[in-house]
Amino acid sequence: MMGLFSRRQFLAENAMGIGSIALTWLLQQDQGKQPKAIALAKPHNDLLPRRTHFEPKAKAMISLFQHGGPSHMDLTDPKPELTKYSGTDYKEDIHFSFVNEASKKLFGSPFRFKAHGQCGTELSELLPHTAEIVDDICLIRSMHTGANGHEVSIRYFHGGIPGVLGRPTLGSWLVYALGTESQNLPAYMVLTDPGGLPVDGVTNWANGFMPAMFQGTVLRPKEPRILNLEPPPHIRGKFQEQNLAFLQDLNRRHLESHPGESELEARIASYELAARMQTAAAEALDIEKETTATHRMYGLDHPETKEYGTRCLIARRLVERGVRFVQLFHSGQPWDNHSGIVSGLKSICKKTDKPAAALVQDLKQRGMLDSTIVHWGGEIGRLPVTQEHGSPEKAGRDHNGQGFSIWMAGGGFKPGMTFGKTDEFGHRAVENIVTPNDFQATILNQFGLKHDETLYIHSGQEQIITNKRPARVVQEIIA
């Protein structure tokens, strides 16, 4: 056998023969029992905790995805010029998705904006609760996907390339690179809406070319929230314990006749984990354990906020128990206000504003916000011009991927700041533009990962989350 020295030497000498990634990886294998680093030549198939490239700020992330394109000029990005010239024709070129209803008539926001908090960030009257946490969030007003379509931009955010399916999603990358801290729960969990799946369906949390273990585990929108978590009623309790004890006896005997087979050991462990999950997951999902005050804080006492609030609260409980990445989705795309934007926005804001703000406040009061990233945002924004429907109350806005807002909180993002600008009408991001690839690079950075060295080898090719598209860590918004 080759000694360590000669093997290293061989690797150094033959680096070109097997490729540099293989080299990095093979050298890492020599480093004994330290947690494995993540720049691997060969995909790993486990969720063991892994070493990061540098000290991480964040340990977990909750993403409140707002499908459809929240109208930034009505919510987060006040545009006095737009109000001033409301009703006149916009001079610049616009790309419309709905050409049949296209209009160039500027449409000033019907909602009032006001400065809030110490930082004085202006928000619309539609977001009274977000206004209360404005000193804890970092509002980015210069997001840019360059494409107006929903799917194109959604896939860009999740998978790294506009419009392209079949790639692992952000949560997959994080879980692949970092492993899990929870011995009892899946590392990547998705909370869907009782109304149904979001646009683009299950691909929102797909594992793409990674193994299935890196895909999001969907919590059902109603009880039971995890599948296969409960045995048939007559098997519960001591009967299941007896069955499992017998099963594990069989498995251990089998292992004894195949000593040293790590897969068989892992299989025994996976039954133990499964048994633990049965109780741990039930416990994690049991929001009755929370105080009435907490229930109220998330709006569980009001029909409009109860459902979304419950999911926000569950998200916190999951992160509290070591889940790495939790993402909430809406059914369809409630922020896609092509018509009736005034009533449409009111209703979706009513549903989400309070629970989202409560989540940030709650994490903060529990001392978890520093290590947990909260993300709120959709895939696009909306146009400054009206989408005609004959009457003002029917008016809406068409898609806009040229400029829009999202906000981040916790996990080392600078609190109480706004970043970037759109033009005077809110049409295009013009200053400090942030793309979904920048967003991904920055998030990985907060987890202690270099996005361009967090590699997965697929079909012999190095893959990174951004697919090597231009991406930068947005240092300006990091504390």
Partner: protein
């Protein structure tokens, strides 16, 4: 394979290269060390293209010295000042994000310092692009396949060298490592079955092969398995993985269903079962349409088979017919198809050469487009055909005529119907107009009967004013209900007639448009909007020696098609191609052993791993092509080796040397594929439906959104519909591929969700129940030697309600002489078939009460199943004024008399307040005649309500009426041992050892006791014996032994 195993393989094989290169020179040379760096970082701009950036050409050292616009790239005086080094160190080169890593810069420096040497004199001239060098050609995968000399190693008998495979493996083994003993016969039978047909042996198979006294039983068994139709089902799955088989189109969110893909799946099964030679198999799949020629009358069976084969080229995700028919989408279909072709047959990733020369392997962008040109006439992106436009109808002329004739029939009926309808409409109008007087009546009729467009304004107004006259066929039923009914019968007849048309089936084929051979243009940076020069069809340049690459015609003169794919397929299967045979035998080896000789089966290039045993790989490849590409023969060759037949058991000493079994000194255990796990469960439960072929089995989302099989489908998993967006949850959790492009190799994961699915999922429980039922049916009595000393089974519990007779003893205040009534009439218990019974008299027990006897009381006995508190509510009634009435007593065998009532033509509430009972305590409801038994029919209904209990849910109630029963078999545990035994044999294809049987019995005995104490452990409709058996079967199906094969 684990990471450690991969590391080991690299280390092991590469060590040879290392020594070789060390011996040659310690200094870096251009060919070995520098050129790969330049290929990776520089050649895109300074070599591959006609115009070199800054006029700097890095392809030859003398060009480097010559330099470009900025001067020489190599400064031999001051190496560190060389522009080549400086530009790289400063990060200026290469432009963009990528940088040359420090250790490579170091290599560059060392090389220049040592004089920028080459191993050989450089060529006088080089052609365009980056030339292929001797080093490139000397790479193991591109060398011609050479049959190695099979070494005479070891002692044939002692080292158990059965075949050349063993000799080649033995030769590579280090000291201290040698083959293990052969696996025992039972293990070999299981292994062979699961390997070749993906199903476990039945009890009869086990019996047959384990007892066969035929010397060559093993060879005979392999032949039998290879001849069975299940062989094709199993091995087609392996090929369908790399072919990227799916029953949906993918690419768009809708993921439209791909209705006829299954015909290709069936073609693969058929081909493998008939042992179609693999060269032919490949040619058919790549160019079946070119072989088939044009249709002359009906498609012949042979033509259909050939066209079906081209389904292989239609496997890539293709959403062009389902909403995204953009040029990007079309070109993606082509790129994906090339990926499927190259990863399944060539084992190299050509994809990166779509945009630029391959960074690691000698595959240029021109090569990529030359390969694309082979397929371009079929995949003409400028005159694109969406999937439906490519499908071929299997209607014969006869079918078509028949269909036309039937349509004529249908038309005839339709005409009859129209005539009838006209009559009825007129009738309805006449009837309606009766309501009107003249002249309005005539005016309305005139208006109505005028064609709509010709009506005058007044007429329109008139009809509007009198809406009920506007009779249309749609509302005819409101006027003449019967007429409408009659018309419906015509509709049904028309539908029936049309249903008689022969079913039109299609195949999903790949063909070329006649008389069109599109040009293939190289796309700059892979962008179809930047087409450059025309590229002619060819294989990869590296695939043959210079000048030896066979010509692929731009347009064949002897065919109606371009002939490109046919020529290409023939070259691939000529036996001279360096990659194809190696790739194929490597895959076959992988499936037999769970580990491949080249661990990266679709990446034989530098990004993959080298072969662990190059000689073995080449021997197999050569043997395979020599045999005429006979796959079944290859299976035999492999399976007859000691390497395949040896035991899977680890040996400590050998493990210490080679823990990962890289040298094949034992057979590695293998986790069964997802499909095999599901299929094996169906076999164990005895419900697998063995029929072959056909449209895919429907799947559906359950109420939780989890994808499951629709209904009670029991066919092999191969036939489940493979929707890209809707993977069947259980299969996916066990690593079945979800096709994006194709699956080059399945990972083997072990995660808790698998355990949860098997532990709690409905499917595993259903199969456990079926296996238990089967064990009950098939159990055979165990012989004493199979069943020597076993753990004590608990005593079965008797039924809670019993019906008997006896007496109440005033002295002891207890019931004495309780005896079950011996005769059941079908509705009542009594003393014998006569009434009154000569001995027992009139004693009767029925649902609501019974009759007392002269000597004996009628006693209804209830035995408490648990320690509890109970309350008794009851009603005792006597309905005759004659006689002296009836006395009722409630008596506990532990506590004595609890209450008594007398009734005579009246009713008493027979209630007992809450009291404590123990498990097994009898509560008797004793009815006697007082003195006179005449007219002593009585009604006595009782409800026993549990309150505080141990193990019984609160408020559970026993009801003497509802639970009244005739004879029932008391729980019997007598059959359990034989049932456990056979279930074990069915699940594991082997009997349990004594110790295992003991373990099983002990577990079952323990669970019986637990359920006796707490009957909540029994499912509704089941009983204790069955339940423990189901639970036990469920554990077997969950166990490692069930999902692994050794």
């Amino acid at each position: 394979m684990s990471l450690r195993k991969l590391v080991f393989l690299v280390a092991h094989t590469a060590i040879l290269f290392w020594f070789a290169s060390c011996a040659k020179s310690q200094e870096p040379t251009f060919e070995l060390h520098i050129r790969p760096i330049l290929r990776q970082y520089c050649f895109d701009c300074h070599g591959a293209t006609d115009k070199k950036e800054g006029n700097l050409d890095l392809r030859l050292v003398r060009y480097m010295k010559l330099g470009g616009d900025s001067g020489t790239a190599i400064n031999s005086e001051k190496p560190i000042d060389s522009l080549l080094i400086q530009r790289v160190i400063s990060g200026e080169m290469p432009p963009g994000e990528a940088h040359v890593p420090a250790e490579k810069v170091e290599t560059l420096k060392k090389w220049i310092e040592a004089g920028a040497k080459t191993d050989r004199p450089e060529p006088e001239q080089i052609g365009p692009g980056v030339p292929i060098t001797a080093e490139d050609r000397d790479y193991w995968a591109f060398r011609p396949i050479a049959r190695p000399i099979v070494p005479e190693v070891g002692n044939k008998a002692e080292d158990r060298i059965r075949t050349p495979i063993d000799a080649l493996l033995k030769q590579a083994m280090p000291l201290g490592v040698s083959f293990s003993a052969d696996a025992d016969r039972e293990t070999l039978i299981r292994r062979a079955f699961l390997d070749l047909i993906g199903l476990p042996p039945s009890l009869q198979d086990m019996e047959r092969w384990s007892k066969s006294s035929y010397e060559n039983w093993f060879g005979q068994m392999i032949d039998t398995l290879l001849d069975s139709p299940q062989y094709g089902e199993r091995w087609s799955r392996h090929w369908l993985d790399v072919a990227g088989y799916a029953d949906s189109e993918g690419q768009t969110t809708a993921d439209a269903v791909r209705p006829w893909a299954w015909k290709y799946r069936d073609y693969v099964i058929r081909s493998l079962n008939s042992n179609k030679l693999i060269d032919r198999f490949i040619v058919e799949q790549l160019a079946g349409d070119e072989l088939a020629g044009t249709r002359n009358g009906d498609w012949t069976a042979e033509q259909i088979e050939l066209l079906t084969a081209t389904g292989f080229l239609t496997m890539a995700a293709d959403g062009t017919g389902a909403g995204d028919n953009s040029p990007e989408a079309r070109n993606k279909v082509i790129a994906d198809t090339l990926k499927i072709v190259s990863s399944s047959l060539l084992g190299v990733s050509v994809g990166c050469a779509q945009c630029h020369d391959h960074r690691y392997d000698p595959i240029s962008q021109v090569d990529y487009f030359a390969l694309r040109a082979v397929f371009e006439p079929a995949f003409d992106w400028q005159q694109w055909r969406v999937p439906d436009a490519r499908r071929i109808s299997l209607y014969t002329n006869a079918n078509r005529e028949q269909a036309a004739a039937i349509e004529q029939e249908a038309q005839k009926i339709a005409e009859e119907r129209a005539a009838k309808q006209k009559l009825y409409m007129a009738e309805a109008l006449d009837k309606e107009l009766l309501k009107y007087d003249e002249p309005l009546k005539t005016e309305l009729r005139t208006a109505y009967e005028k064609p709509e467009k010709e009506r005058s304004e007044e007429q329109v107004m008139l009809l509007k004013k009198n809406p009920s006259v506007n009779i249309t066929p749609g509302v005819l039923y409101q006027y003449l209900p019967k007429a409408a009914e009659e018309l419906k019968t015509f509709d049904a007849k028309i539908a029936e007639t049309r249903a008689r048309k022969p079913v039109e089936e299609f195949i999903r084929a790949m063909t070329e448009l006649p008389d069109r051979v599109p040009d293939t243009l190289l796309f700059h940076r892979g962008d179809h909007q930047q087409p450059k020069q025309k590229v002619l069809p060819a294989d990869l340049t590296i695939a043959a020696d210079e000048g030896a690459l066979p010509l692929i015609p731009e347009r064949a003169s002897n065919l109606k098609t371009s002939g490109r794919r046919l020529a290409y397929a023939r070259w691939l299967t000529s036996g001279k191609h360096p990659l194809v045979a190696r790739v194929l035998v490597n895959r076959v080896w992988l499936h037999h052993f769970g580990q491949a000789i080249v661990p990266t089966p679709s990446e034989f290039g530098k990004l993959g791993m080298p072969p662990s045993n190059p000689a073995l790989l080449d021997w197999l490849a050569d043997e395979f092509t020599r045999s005429g590409w006979d796959l079944k023969q290859l299976h035999r060759t492999i399976m007859k080796s000691t390497a395949w037949r040896q035991s899977a058991v680890r040996d400590e000493a050998k493990s210490a040397i080679d823990a990962e079994n890289a040298y094949y000194w034992r057979k590695s255990i293998q986790r069964l594929d997802a499909e095999v796990i599901r299929d094996r469960m169906l076999v164990a439960s005895g419900t697998l439906e063995p029929n072959l072929f056909g449209p895919p089995i429907a799947i559906k989302a359950d109420d939780a959104g989890q994808i499951i099989v629709d209904g009670q489908q029991k066919r092999r998993s191969l036939y489940l519909q493979a929707r890209r967006s809707q993977p069947v949850a259980m299969l996916q959790s066990f690593d079945a591929p979800v096709m994006d492009v194709n699956c080059e190799r399945r990972p083997v994961s072990t995660v808790a969700t698998q355990s949860l699915i098997l532990m709690n999922g409905e499917f595993a429980w259903q199969q456990a129940e079926l296996l238990a039922a089967r064990a009950m049916r098939e159990a055979v009595p165990l012989s004493p030697e199979q069943f020597p000393s076993q753990p004590q089974m608990p005593t079965p519990l008797t039924p809670e309600w019993r019906y008997g007779y006896g007496e109440f003893d005033e002295q002891s205040q207890r019931v004495t002489g309780f005896t079950d009534l011996p005769h059941w009439t079908g509705t009542e218990w009594q003393g014998g078939d006569q009434r009154p019974d000569p001995t027992l008299g009139w004693v009767i027990a029925n649902q609501n009460g019974g009759h007392t006897g002269a000597r004996f009381a009628s006693i209804r006995r209830w035995t408490s199943p648990s320690n509890s508190r109970i309350r008794i509510d009851g009603s005792l009634q006597h309905g005759s004024p004659n006689g002296d009435g009836v006395r009722g007593r409630v008596v506990s065998d532990r506590r004595g008399l609890l209450g008594q009532w007398k009734v005579l033509n009246n009713k008493a509430e027979a209630k007992i307040d809450e009291f404590v009972v123990e498990a097994g305590e009898s509560i008797d409801f004793v009815a006697d005649c007082i003195a006179n038994e005449s007219s002593d029919s009585f009604t006595w209904t009782t409800k026993i309500a549990f309150s505080v209990t141990e193990g019984i849910p609160q408020a559970r109630v026993r009801d003497s009426v509802a639970e009244f029963h005739g004879p029932i078999a008391a729980d019997s545990f007598a059959e359990l041992p034989s049932q456990l035994h056979i279930a074990w044999r069915i699940a594991y294809c082997r009997p349990p050892t004594q110790a295992e049987f003991q373990l099983a019995m002990a577990h079952v005995a323990e669970q019986l006791r637990a359920i006796q104490k707490d009957p909540r452990g029994i499912a509704t409709g089941s009983n204790i014996t069955k339940q423990v058996l189901v639970n036990y079967c469920h554990a077997l199906l969950n166990s490692s032994e069930f999902v692994y094969v050794d």
